[in-house]
Subunit: 487 residues, 2 copies
Amino acid sequence: MTAADSGSGTTAEEIVPVLLCGGTGTRLWPVSRRAYPKQFAALTGAESLFQASVRRLSGPGFAPPLVVTGSDYRFIATEQLNLTGVTGGTVLIEPAARSTAPAVLAASLWLARTDPDRLMLVAPSDHVIPDAAGFRAAVARGREAALAGRIVTFGIAPTSPETGYGWLELPGDARPADPGPLPLAGFVEKPGRARAEAMLAGGKSLWNTGIFLFTARSMIAAFHAHAAALIPPVEAAVAGIRPDLSFLRLDPAPWDAAPDISIDYAVMEKARNISVVPYAGHWSDLGDWDAVRREMGPDDKGLALSGQAVAIDCRNTMLRADSDGLALVGIGLKNILVVATSDAVLVADAARAQEVRQAIPALKARGLRQAEDFPRDYRPWGWSETLARSDRFQVNRILVRPGAALSLQSHARRAEHWIVVTGTARVTRDGDARLLSENQSLDIPPGTVHRLENPGAIPLMLVEVQTGASLSEDDIIRYGDVHVRSP
Amino acid sequence: MTAADSGSGTTAEEIVPVLLCGGTGTRLWPVSRRAYPKQFAALTGAESLFQASVRRLSGPGFAPPLVVTGSDYRFIATEQLNLTGVTGGTVLIEPAARSTAPAVLAASLWLARTDPDRLMLVAPSDHVIPDAAGFRAAVARGREAALAGRIVTFGIAPTSPETGYGWLELPGDARPADPGPLPLAGFVEKPGRARAEAMLAGGKSLWNTGIFLFTARSMIAAFHAHAAALIPPVEAAVAGIRPDLSFLRLDPAPWDAAPDISIDYAVMEKARNISVVPYAGHWSDLGDWDAVRREMGPDDKGLALSGQAVAIDCRNTMLRADSDGLALVGIGLKNILVVATSDAVLVADAARAQEVRQAIPALKARGLRQAEDFPRDYRPWGWSETLARSDRFQVNRILVRPGAALSLQSHARRAEHWIVVTGTARVTRDGDARLLSENQSLDIPPGTVHRLENPGAIPLMLVEVQTGASLSEDDIIRYGDVHVRSP
């Protein structure tokens, strides 16, 4: 996958999935953190929500995806895209976090450069939609309307008076059980409680999924009509796109000037050319841990367990042991949500699930890295994960992809000791190269200019032990910054 | 401290503290486990309950302690005894776990060999008694009665109708607020709820602390009178004591035949020569996590926090992050007990604190090592702590005391890689010795006969990385088993 591949091997009839994955999902701390947000986490199964979204929107009728994400997530997104087996995707980098409107406009402008009539399906990458085939059938039902210039949105029959969602009101003669597309009478973004209850009772309103099907041309026209202020900065950011490794990076300076506004507020509330396709299958946005508990398939006591978790006489409770080496026991709990990871534990009353986001400022105020950082750090060459740290040493597990290399570097004060667990390492120390195979080890004394590469065909896994009086991450001098990514 | 020191440097007037520390404290899992029970854990302060007990019963008037513990705990007890600075103590090893009666009789018989009139103070090592001087003053008040042949027990004014304690009933004319010793009207072991409530209301009963002052001679006589079946096996076990390193190990074969019975049931309920010294200071047996919460000094909302713990709108809740690298967040909790360690997390309703012991069989049934094992393993030469493990590698932190050595050994299938963090290591590989200092490392390939020693004057800390397809702990051949302990 390279930037040059954008649009290659696709036909104009295929829909381009545009996956939005810039969010940070703070209500799902500690599994979701700024450094590794919820869309990339395996919350309800073996694969992440992002991977499931990529695969759901692939196959016949779909072009390779355009993934819109933050700079911090570009390597995670690439890694997970590779894992899906869906090839030819493109990662478009937002230089700074913005809400959804600038991202949708940027994707539309980028795709319009090759084909303004290209169909695009914009979708968040953190939703649960188990019936992929059923959802693709709903998308197919919206196709003709979108080609005819409509913005097609997908609606869910509501089961509760949610005040955090956008709602789609249907006209009096529409039947929500119809396959659609249906006309839209009104768009209500985040209604008050009374309004939400009235819409729920009325039976003529649907939840808005935030998934939209349209042509690049119609969306750009909608911005011109309803949110023209976004056009100049986003146009300039797209015009200034430059490839970075295999990514497309929007031009940071104009992007910074783009208003931070959602597509719902900017366009959907105002546009008159909106159609609705009802989707009757199961859908969840996993908005908080209690929603995750429900998605985990709780038993008849409302109990949802994962990992090495033991519940003794608990009800309506989630016990997640989200780390291999961790055992979790709950005793006599009612309506409690527990998430235990290798470096952070959350215990919350289920009714307070929305307040989990308050943990982040509280942890930041204490200077705790768990507020935003994650033990595993994704890099162009693979990843590094902290296994243990103390005053005098730190132990990391490092994975280097086949063909990849870390930058040439040295450390003034710390020594590094590398032990190869699997694969083959090529280590250069002060110009002298050596191959290491499984079970072999090597030292990098302070001051040594060194480089680590994986010359082999399988991933290189090594354990790194750092020792010394100073283990600051700032103790690094890089000689050039040429990363070699995996092919 | 060596076995030969027993009784040396003491005078006949000094009281020998006999500290019972064979219990496993399953209600305080996961901090207390079979491999590292609660008396050795720092539950309410920087030092362990055992260390606090040793120091409380030391100084003028006290001989060095006799510590009675299980074989598994001998190295932990020695290490912690050293940390207290109280010298000359002896560790008496119970070859198998028994309740308190055999331990008290064995200690009495052992001390009677040198002086049958020796005063002994038998005390559990897992109680909290913050006012050490006040408690020593209470002990002093019982001294004359004990020398005169009484068994003196220490009583606490009750604050709740505890059904799990022994109760001391005072005669009608006794005033519980007197300094004592007072006569005993009756001993009630684990009363029913109604009886406990009646005793609480009556104001003439005290909780039994399980702390007893007596001469060896009186206790042996009490066993002859009330529990004669214990005499033959325990006498034989004491007669067969053999020194093992610096420990005294009771003879296993006769010990196995000793009945598993508490001192309360065997003797205290029946003996007529019991006196009571009321102790008015604060006392707790830390029977469960809610008792620990109360001892931690909760704030006016009943909130007790330790480690990197953050409470958002919680009440009557304990949040313990008992591991350096762990952050813990509680949100909207009421009456919840949370204990998070590096490899296990407990979340329990406070009213169910007594049921925490049920976690152990539940975890065992799943084959989880956290049921009983602890990440840190105490050995004669120091300790080893597992920092991380996976299929293909394991990382341990190893501490070797000055002058100590591990046994000569080899592994058929795993390689070991040692990196010295602090101190100096002497490593022998296939007969070839080498010194390693800080930041240096060395490999032990499979099949290499090797030994690790600390020839230096400061503790040797190293990180060990094991690699290989098989990391079983059974993959070890020991050549002789001569450990060298720290001096």
